[in-house]
Symmetry: C2
Subunit: 151 residues, 2 copies
DNA sequence: AGTATATAGTTTATTTTTTGAACTTAAAGA
DNA sequence: TCTTTAAGTTCAAAAAATAAACTATATACT
């Protein structure tokens, strides 16, 4: 969240981490993915210190990741995700899958992705954009290109 | 990398972040994805301070993310990725895509994924495990389940 | 009405990390 | 021989995170 030297790098990964790369931001998004949360809910659920949570929430609102709304008929507030933060879901699920696969002892909570309509299991895979067919991870190549920003 | 309070959480995301959630680890993996790197290459490329890089590299070797090998016929060393670190590629690419989509000014470097064989563009998508067909992101549901570790 | 509890933070002091810059050691090159 | 390169280490200063107590306001209980 704070300005780090690597923000000067022209790299989408470095840019993403400059926004969500701190110790807590991803975990806050993870919690709010489960529905809007109040300050104390987040604080208790995460075990983060209150002053840091306060600072992070402000920064995340500022960064356009969270919206702070007062709840109807009360003086309480809820934080909900913006579309920008919602789009972090693939990254978070990729981390979850890695965390599951490489944890020392088996057991513990597992994150499962299913298709709503059928209940079938779903995973993050590489797909050809043209036809949506899966491509094996060792059959892909990654390049960094300077974009000709004609957008 | 260091022990944080959220490591006590039973969550694959929190576990993943306890290993790769610090400010530099993901960027180091990103750089080494491009091939083995030496200490000074990493230091210059990242702009990280030398003592911190030294500490991170040790922790990453310890965590099984990097292997440190001496180069033939020289007293130099190269750090290369282990399979464990290689499997972070989907998470890193998901972050890259998000970073690209949500950066303020258009332009700058873009990460492009292609199929080696055909050169066709590829992206990370949700796929049904049964048949490998793509599922739209709003058609999925995410649950956290306690695993019955029969593994 | 008076007291207790809940919510959403703020304040302050301490500890831990990160940064930056200089230093070390050993080998290779000019 | 003198200089440069490589891979770190050491040390001091700055920044960030932690923990615990405190505040302010509003509702709930007795």
């Amino acid at each position: 969240m704070t300005t780090r030297s690597y923000q000067r790098q022209d790299c989408p990964v470095a840019h993403a981490l400059s926004v969500v790369g701190d110790q807590w931001t991803i975990l806050i998004v993870r919690d709010v993915l489960g529905g809007p949360k109040r300050f104390d809910e987040l604080q208790r659920g995460l075990g983060i210190s209150r002053n840091l949570l306060s600072k992070r929430l402000k920064q995340m609102v500022e960064a356009g990741l969270l919206a702070r709304r007062s709840l109807p008929n009360s003086r309480r507030f809820a934080y909900r995700l913006t579309p920008k933060a919602l789009e972090l879901r693939p990254a978070i699920l990729a981390l979850a899958e890695w965390g599951q696969n490489w944890r020392d002892q088996s057991g513990g909570t597992v994150v499962e992705i299913t298709e709503k309509a059928t209940g079938e299991q779903v995973g993050l895979r590489y797909c050809r954009l043209s036809d949506g067919r899966e491509v094996q991870s060792d059959a892909i190549s990654v390049q960094r290109l300077p974009e000709n920003d004609s957008a």
